[in-house]
């Protein structure tokens, strides 16, 4: 009953100084909005990067030939190379039961493609296998995907990314047409489903041909760039990694892990690392925004001290007619907390609104926990920064306060 009255007194106090209340709220408003937006940007960036990594397929482990040359007592050790045979060995259900599939790939960057008089630079030109397309989830929207027959027969067929198809053919139907890529002729078998952009990268600017065809007509029957292995399940990724190591070590006669001529790249580990880094970045951004929130809090202390001084006489009157210390403390603490909470509430709304705007390559993501936290923090700010002025008001002696001019 008393509490309701104290709330009413506090609201009356705030409304009486409308302009001042609004300006004080503005400080908290800006601080909270900044925290919400910046954490949303951090989250959004992190999710976009994770999405990029995940787009390489679920539960995958990538094996690269070690491209660094190290000097061992003055003698250059040439990098060893991975082959299609290595990939086949990793698919052995005896030696590597945790591996479902292993797909070798060759990637060529910035390759020229021609069709008639039009030409286009393909960002990434893949020599791959049907299983790679399956692992990395590249489906075709027109025509048909690469088949095992295409692979076995080293057929000169190509799947084009949406960007490549549009650039070379405009609106025309590319299926069955012959294009020149890296100087070799390929017949368009299909067009890949459009994926759009991830962190500013056009991931539709690519093309796939059977890895065997690429070797036959462009790169020669040499090494492959990488082998993408997919574990049989999310819980088998670590087992799969161990099996890759043992199979490849056996094939290359490696006994000391330091002598390994290949590198393993575990997607789950990478995702963990990315989420740690983006988490840190988010926290850092939030901390920077938090400084403005702190400034807003100091603004509350400032304005409340001013209010208490200005209303010393009122406090004296209230105490003289029997207001207990708690009622005075509560009134001014509530005024501070309401300033903070209103400012914070509006800040959350503004932050969420701003976060709905697409920033460059990604979409900021507001986490519900951020909103809950923002309210908690603004409440705490109200209490913390209102405590000193409110306490000062509550401790005033009525005779001194009444004498105050």
């Amino acid at each position: 009953m008393m509490l309701r009255e104290v709330v009413r007194f506090a609201i009356r106090g705030l409304v009486a100084n409308r302009m001042r209340s609004v300006l004080t709220m503005l400080g908290i408003f800006i601080g909270v909005a900044a925290v919400v937006v910046l954490t949303a940007v951090g989250n959004g960036a992190g999710q976009a990067i994770s999405a990029t990594v995940s787009s390489f397929g679920a539960n995958t482990i990538t094996v690269f030939a070690d491209t660094t040359t190290s000097s061992d007592e003055g003698r250059d050790i040439r990098p060893r190379e991975l082959t299609i045979a290595d990939a086949r060995a990793l698919e052995d259900p005896e030696g590597a039961p945790a591996i479902a599939r292993a797909a070798p790939i060759i990637q060529m960057l910035g390759v020229e493609a021609r069709y008639g008089y039009s030409s286009h630079r393909i960002e990434t030109f893949f020599g791959a296998t049907p299983s790679y397309l399956d692992i990395a989830e590249f489906a075709v929207v027109e025509g048909s995907t690469l088949s095992e027959d295409d692979l076995a027969g080293a057929r000169q067929v190509v799947l084009l990314g949406r960007t490549v198809a549009d650039e070379l053919f405009g609106g025309a139907d590319p299926l069955g047409e012959r294009v020149m890529i890296a100087g070799a002729p390929f017949t368009v078998a299909g067009v890949i489903v459009e994926r759009g952009e991830i962190i500013g990268q056009d991931i539709d600017n690519l093309a796939f041909v059977p890895i065997t065809s690429l070797q036959q007509s462009v790169t020669g029957y040499g090494p492959v760039d990488a082998i993408i292995a997919q574990a049989t399940g999310p819980d088998q990724v670590n087992a799969a990694e161990a099996q890759i190591l043992s199979v490849l070590d056996a094939r290359y006669g490696i006994t000391d892990p330091d002598d390994r001529t290949y590198q393993i790249f575990n997607q789950a580990t990478l995702l963990d690392a990315i989420s740690t880094i983006t988490g840190l970045i988010s926290a850092l951004l939030a901390a920077i925004a938090g400084i403005s929130l702190l400034v807003g809090g100091v603004g509350i202390t400032n304005i409340m001290l001013m209010t208490v001084t200005e209303r010393t006489r009122e406090i004296g009157i209230r105490k003289a007619i029997g207001a207990p210390r708690g009622a005075i403390l509560g009134q001014f603490l509530l005024e501070a907390t309401m300033l903070s909470l209103f400012g914070g509430g509006l800040g959350v709304l503004a932050g969420v609104a701003v976060s709905s705007i697409h920033i460059g390559a990604f979409q900021p993501v507001v986490m519900p926990s951020t909103i809950v936290l923002a309210f908690g923090v603004t409440f705490a700010i109200g209490i913390f920064f209102g405590a000193h002025p409110a306490n000062r008001a509550a401790k005033l002696r009525p005779i001194d306060a009444l004498r105050y001019e």
């Binding site: 008393m2 009356r12 009157i317 209230r318 003289a320 207990p324 210390r325 005779i399």
Partner: protein
Amino acid sequence: MTATTHAGASGPALATQPVIQVDRVRKIYGQGAAEVRALDGVSVRIAPGEYVAIMGASGSGKSTLMHVLGCLDVPTSGRYLLDGIDVSRLNEAQQAIVRNRKIGFVFQSFNLVSRTSALANVEMPLTYAGVNRRERHRRAQAALRQVGLADRAGHKPNELSGGQQQRVAIARALVTSPTLILADEPTGNLDSTATADILNILDRFHRLGRTIVLITHEDDVAARATRTIRLLDGRVLSDSAHTGRDPGSTTERTP
């Protein structure tokens, strides 16, 4: 609480328990050479229904006495029983409760909370007493009616004249039905018409049986009381009963 109803000491009408019983109260500020004895052994008894004027020059200790009587300050030594309760050693929270329940203040400078309607000002002591909203409203309206301001309930203090503001303050002092009305130079800031108005209202409440202690330095204001206590240098100089001057020709509002 210990009921101290034994009669015998000085002062009139001790058949019932006194509203105020002050025994050898001292209030000393500072120490050593800078020591100031604002009150130096004051003993006063005031019976229910009395209308007492406390007079004295500035520095005589009347403001300090008023603070002690109003439970705004505690004496350095001595005893003060208000309505039978020893309030001289109460802590701050208990003092606040006593002020709220037992005392109605009227100040020289009105001391209304600005930006708050007359009605809300009158309701304020009831709010701190925890009275519910409807009851508060009813009693505050009644109190405003008693001072003739029922039609000004919604006005803010700055929309009222000095005399009207002081009447609101009196309504606020009365609304809790306090044991004691403590008026500190209530007419000090008012013109003669408003002064007459306020004194008439106090007279009326006196006739209705209220105990009123009025601090003043004006003889004609003190003359309206039934008893005058004069202070000098923190001591009681004189304490004389007299009949309150009849308001005479001044017309009074019907309650």
